[in-house]
Symmetry: C2
Subunit: 432 residues, 2 copies
């Protein structure tokens, strides 16, 4: 039936993911060939690190240290890019698409930074770029958006898409750890890197949110467009109050659309305890999508690791290979709409949790409430704990009704200037 004798595959990178992909291609060759309809042949692997090459115990003739040799091979139809990072991945993806080759990538950073350009080039050259592995590891996400949810107008995406931070927050929640102890635990277990900046500052989550927002809302977002706060300022006190108020704290990647304007932001949030998303613990990932027909759906699984990522890469390879074998040229179906506007963080409206340290004197709460009222922010609940009398310090926690971010920022500025307030210890947005 097929139009080809075999389909040539080139692999860029034999790191953790690349090694998993190579192993799966080889171990499951028979099943994969049957699914595609003709043999898949891994023809070349680019890897600079000769130790990795040797450790793989694969045929030495497969290897080159020069990715250009893989991308330029006329017998290769599909390039799998698992180098990670922006450069030189971007250059090789462009080169591959430019030569009319299909590309499968697990690289969220390069996708987040160059998605629109890759789509245009693929369209122009009559090929496609697939990226299921770039978000949520092996959790099926891209295909559901491209197919199953097509009839829906999607309003909201809430995503836990960084396993490191979710692990840290889970430990803080379940064991009352402070941030630095939880981070240390994560590092010891290999869940966090020595330099954890990319994870704990939400940079990794923002990359993935660029891709999710494009899929759900067809909006062209750049990583720098995303409002971003990390998790390092959360303390064990915040978790204690959250529990008392009926919430869990999670780092969420959020995308919402209303009237053609899209919010994209990554920051810690209070989530109601009874929401399934709030119960996603440890290094797991979950993406909750809300559509007008389907209501709330949630996808859950391991967001990283060589095996789950290989699962997604190979699924994309099968999808492309089936097309190549049928001789069907199918270019990207996703059309980004450049007219969609991104809402500045100052314009969003949400509820807030606010924790303050004040002097321990009558009338303090009244002064704070006045400021909130002046800024048209309604308070939904207050906790004032027994205070440390000797130190003349009290702690006040407020939850608000929905309010504009701008008003809230204004109010917080005024509250900080009150002589009875020592500091605003923290504030966290509340979503439900």
């Amino acid at each position: 039936m097929g139009k080809k004798d075999s389909i040539g595959i080139g692999l860029l990178g034999l790191g953790v993911v690349g090694g998993g992909v190579a192993r799966t291609l080889s171990r499951r060759a028979e099943t994969l060939d049957a699914q595609v309809g003709c043999p898949l042949r891994l023809r070349k692997i680019a890897e600079k690190d000769l130790a990795k090459t040797r450790a793989s115990k694969m045929d030495p003739d497969l290897f080159t240290t020069d990715p250009a040799e893989v991308v330029g091979d006329p017998e290769i139809d599909i390039i799998i890019e698992v180098l990670g990072g922006e450069h030189p991945a971007m250059e090789y993806i462009n080169e591959a698409l430019g030569r009319g080759k299909y590309v499968v990538t697990s690289n969220k950073e390069v996708m987040a930074k160059h998605f629109p350009e890759f789509l245009s080039l693929a369209k122009e050259k009559g090929v496609d770029i697939l990226y299921e592995a770039s978000v949520g590891g092996g959790i099926p996400l891209i295909a559901p958006f491209k197919q199953d949810l097509l009839a829906n107008e999607i309003s909201t995406i809430y995503a836990i898409i960084n396993g490191t931070t979710n692990y840290i927050l889970s430990r803080m929640s379940s064991e009352g750890l402070d941030f630095s102890s939880a981070l240390k635990q994560a590092q010891e277990l290999g869940y966090a890197e020595a330099d954890p900046t990319n994870d704990i500052e939400g940079i990794d989550a923002a990359y993935k949110l660029v891709i999710l927002a494009a899929l759900a809302f067809h909006i062209e977002v750049r990583p720098d467009d995303i409002y971003r706060e990390g998790i390092s300022r959360l303390s064990s006190r915040d978790f204690r109050y959250a529990k008392e108020l009926g919430y869990e704290i999670k780092l969420l990647a959020i995308a919402k659309e209303q009237d053609g304007v899209v919010e994209v932001r990554v920051h810690p949030v209070f989530l109601p305890q009874d929401l399934l998303l709030a119960k996603v613990d440890g290094v797991y990932n979950a993406v909750q999508v809300e559509g007008d027909l389907v209501g709330r759906v949630l996808f859950y699984g391991q967001g990283a690791g060589p095996s789950p990522t290989s699962s997604a890469v190979i699924a994309d390879v099968i999808d492309v290979a089936q097309r190549v074998n049928r001789g069907v040229k199918i270019t990207p179906t996703l059309r980004l709409d450049p007219t969609k506007r991104i809402k500045p963080i100052s314009e969003i409206e949400t509820r807030y949790y606010l924790r303050m340290s004040t002097v321990d004197r009558p009338g303090v709460l009244a002064k704070i409430s006045n400021v909130m009222g002046d800024n048209l922010i309604s308070i939904s609940s207050v906790i004032q704990k027994e205070s440390d009398v000797s130190a003349d310090v009290a702690e006040i926690v407020l939850m608000t009704y929905p309010a504009k971010e701008q008003a809230m920022q204004q109010a917080m500025g005024e509250i900080e200037r009150l002589d009875v307030v020592r500091e605003i210890s923290n504030f966290v947005r509340v979503e439900d």
Copy 2:
């Protein structure tokens, strides 16, 4: 680009789901046409109930009371079957496929009973039958199996796929209700029917499990092949013990494959409280899939209702319409393997929870333990509560290590014949 001026759609049934589908096709016409690449035209609707026809306020010329007229219309390319039930849905699906029309159905019963025949006929006629809406309402399930999880060897499916029973069990768990009160609540809220047999006896879940097992394991299962127990014998005492032991009770549809032999069963189970699946409450559905690469993934959402079901039906319609428009004939890719064997319930191995009423005398536990030991079943924990001394009754609860079902049944028979045992009040399988 397209090969067709328009694609004709015929709808069989204007009930709750059919009404939702008709509304979505009309309200979202512009978007759908853009996605397909040519106009979708709803040409005929078969509905016997003229009150429904009138209430729909749609063009009267669209309607007929005779489904054969829809299926026979040469201008119709895609038949949407939302009649429900086995007959006459089966006959019209066969007729439609036989005439070379594509079929989209939300009908789990007819699919569960005639899946293999429909697949063969569709293959023979060069068309396809799509059924995303038949399992889990709008939750994307079929496409993930057909595409995203293809690289995996799937070992286990645990599915909460009946909202009615999950609602009842959630109420029993959270409020300590007994079964009949929880059922009554569900009926008052419209979550359970006046005759709830299909739901509470696991018949509905078994239909859906036939389809999931076919997708995951390519096995040909008939509804009667599925071992089935309902939820009516669960009592509030079982929920209390479950909590104490760290479990929730859920009605699960289970499919597992090992060495080409497949278990398919629907019954209540003890699930560890910390498993995300155990936290799925109310009328929601969730399907947990375990694959060798991807690990555990879970899909969650509303399993029923006109809007979620429409979401799935329309997604299938778009998928088919895109192919029709491109002139691509793609027949079913699923190949059922008739050599796969179904494991009889007596051969399964799992852990058990066992609750017994005994006389209140020393040595009772020893006698029971001896029977278990004789049948090579190890006990992992025991609860013996303060007893009702006046009535000379004690209650003993056992949890076992993994044991063969056959051995367990044998042991339970022997225990029931012990003179110190009044009755085995309940036993529930334990999964993790």
